[in-house]
């Protein structure tokens, strides 16, 4: 049944004739449709539709129709868009979306597994990279050799496992971001879909650059945090002891927060320029974003409320700045 209508030699669809009469078709497609109409002896249909247009406009004058439309627009400001009415239940849409995206999900999973395996082989290098602040700054404290304590026999194994999985996540990042964009752009126009490659490239670049910057910044933050130790000669000795699991967790959290933060402006700008959301939508979404930022911060910084706020507030502020930036750039482009 799928292919029985696929013969372009069949009658010309009314849809295309309408677009032709409206002057909406590109020149080459218009010529093709005209040729098809001529081949079927239906060129008169163009004239018929033109006449029908005039009759309709005479019967329903533009001024009265426009007034009614504007009245409905004013009334609809308080109601949701009509085209959203009557959709299939949410779980069915999720299920169908999952079935349709199955190959892409499989590709993402494969990239993750491949990355994780590679990460496992590179585990020692990754640990040394992540522990850069320790071996960079530790000698300054006058100690012989930088070291991190492994408090239990499986500490090292767990840390390597986490590092391998984090590397897998980085490998799967382009696929994940692509899925995220396709999900956000579903049901919109082809121009949004054409932005997919640019979105993925920009997001990955922003994320990787941000994570790299975080790794560069880690030594400074490490130095700052360890400088809170009591000065030498004081009555109490406070000696920082670095536990492997805690350190890996701390460093990976920092990289994750930086990576996510870098995605915020990229996502906001692309959503705005693709026309998926209006500026008002972005402004209205701020309260939900603030809630999401709090949830995210609570997940990555579960220790105390202050740490949660220290992560959530800058993320929310970054969202606000991104929305403002999108507004300014969009106005400049439109003007």
């Amino acid at each position: 049944m799928l292919d029985d209508r696929a013969d372009p030699g069949q009658t010309v669809p009314e849809w295309l004739i309408e677009r032709l009469v409206a002057g909406d078709l590109p020149a080459d497609q218009a010529a093709y449709v005209r040729a098809r109409l001529a081949a079927h002896g239906r060129l008169h249909r163009i004239q018929e539709l033109t006449l029908a247009n005039r009759e309709t406009l005479a019967r329903y004058p533009a001024r009265s129709v426009a007034a009614e439309i504007e009245r409905r627009v004013a009334a609809s400001e308080i109601s949701p868009p009509a085209v959203a009415v009557g959709r299939a239940p949410l779980w069915q849409r999720i299920k169908q979306g999952f079935v349709e995206r199955r190959p892409n999900i499989a590709r993402t999973g494969l990239a993750f597994v491949g990355g994780a395996v590679l990460g496992w082989y590179l585990k020692r290098d990754l640990l040394v990279l992540l522990a850069r602040p320790v071996w960079l700054l530790w000698p300054k404290d006058g100690l012989e050799r930088p070291s991190i304590q492994a408090p239990s026999p499986d500490s090292l194994f767990h840390s390597y496992l986490w590092l391998a999985m984090a590397f897998g996540l980085v490998a799967a990042l382009p696929f994940l971001l692509r899925e995220l964009w396709v999900f956000a752009a579903s049901g919109v126009h082809s121009h949004a879909k054409k932005l997919t490659a640019r979105f993925v490239a920009s997001s990955v670049a922003a994320c990787v650059a941000s994570a790299w910057y975080c790794l560069r910044l880690l030594p400074r933050s490490f130095l700052y945090l360890t400088e809170f130790a009591l000065p030498a000669g004081s009555k109490l000795l406070v000696e920082p002891t670095l536990l492997l699991n805690d350190y890996v967790e701390f460093a990976m959290r920092a990289v994750l927060v930086f990576g996510v933060a870098a995605e915020i402006p990229v996502f906001v700008l692309f959503l705005r320029f693709a026309g998926i959301v209006a500026h008002q939508d972005l402004v209205r979404f701020f309260r939900y974003f603030a809630a999401l930022a709090l949830v995210f911060a609570a997940l990555v910084m579960p220790r105390d409320p202050l740490s949660v706020l220290l992560v959530a507030v800058p993320l929310a502020a970054l969202y606000g700045v991104s929305v403002g930036l999108a507004f300014v750039i969009f106005r400049r482009r439109a003007g």
Binding site: M1, L2, D3, R5, A6, D7, P8, Q10, T11, P13, E14, W15, L16, E18, R19, V21, A22, G23, D24, L25, L49, A52, N53, E55, T56, L57, Y60, A62, R63, V65, A66, E68, I69, E70, R72, V73, S76, P81, A82, V83, V85, G86, R87, A88, Q92, R93, Q96, V99, E100, S186, G187, V188, H189, S190, H191, A192, K193, G275, A278
Partner: protein
């Protein structure tokens, strides 16, 4: 308001009205739906980014009309069995009509709005898969996959 409504209606209104009439088969309902189509366009005018809005208007008209038909089907007291058949009918034989109607039925039941529009474009408007893909901004294989999923769902319904 930003968008010149009168101008847009003068250039594309009759086309939208014909589209609504073709799907709803009722002049009063079609006129009402046409107004709603322009309301939708005005509310989402950021989507109207190019100088050739006919495709977007026709797709929006299809969305609005299908939602109306679906809403009617939820209220059996207003149900018009002949309506879907009329949409699916056109010039084909009875078997093809029934098959097309069943496809539309299945589409109304479970499919997302975008698949419903694709089904109407392909089965009712007789656009080729290439043309449907161009209209909805998907790849041909994407459209084929959606319609195939629809038919599989239909086959399951028939088997069950």
């Amino acid at each position: 308001m930003g968008l010149p409504v009168e101008k847009l209606y003068e250039s594309h209104g009759p086309m939208v009205l014909r589209r609504c009439l073709r799907l709803l088969r009722n002049q009063a309902q079609a006129l009402d739906a046409m107004h709603d189509v322009f309301v939708e366009i005005l509310r989402r005018q950021e989507l109207l980014h190019d100088a050739a809005p006919a495709s977007l208007l026709l797709r929006t008209a299809t969305h609005v009309c299908l939602n109306r038909l679906r809403s009617e089907r939820r209220h059996p007291e207003d149900r018009d069995e002949a309506l879907l058949l009329a949409i699916a009918a056109e010039d084909d034989g009875p078997e093809s009509q029934i098959a097309a109607r069943r496809t539309l039925d299945a589409a109304f039941e479970v499919s997302p709005a975008s698949t419903r529009v694709m089904a109407v474009l392909h089965y009712v408007d007789r656009l080729t898969l290439d043309e449907v893909a161009a209209e909805v901004g998907l790849s041909v294989s994407g459209v084929r996959k959606r319609l195939r999923a629809l038919q599989q769902r239909l086959a399951l319904l028939e088997a069950g």
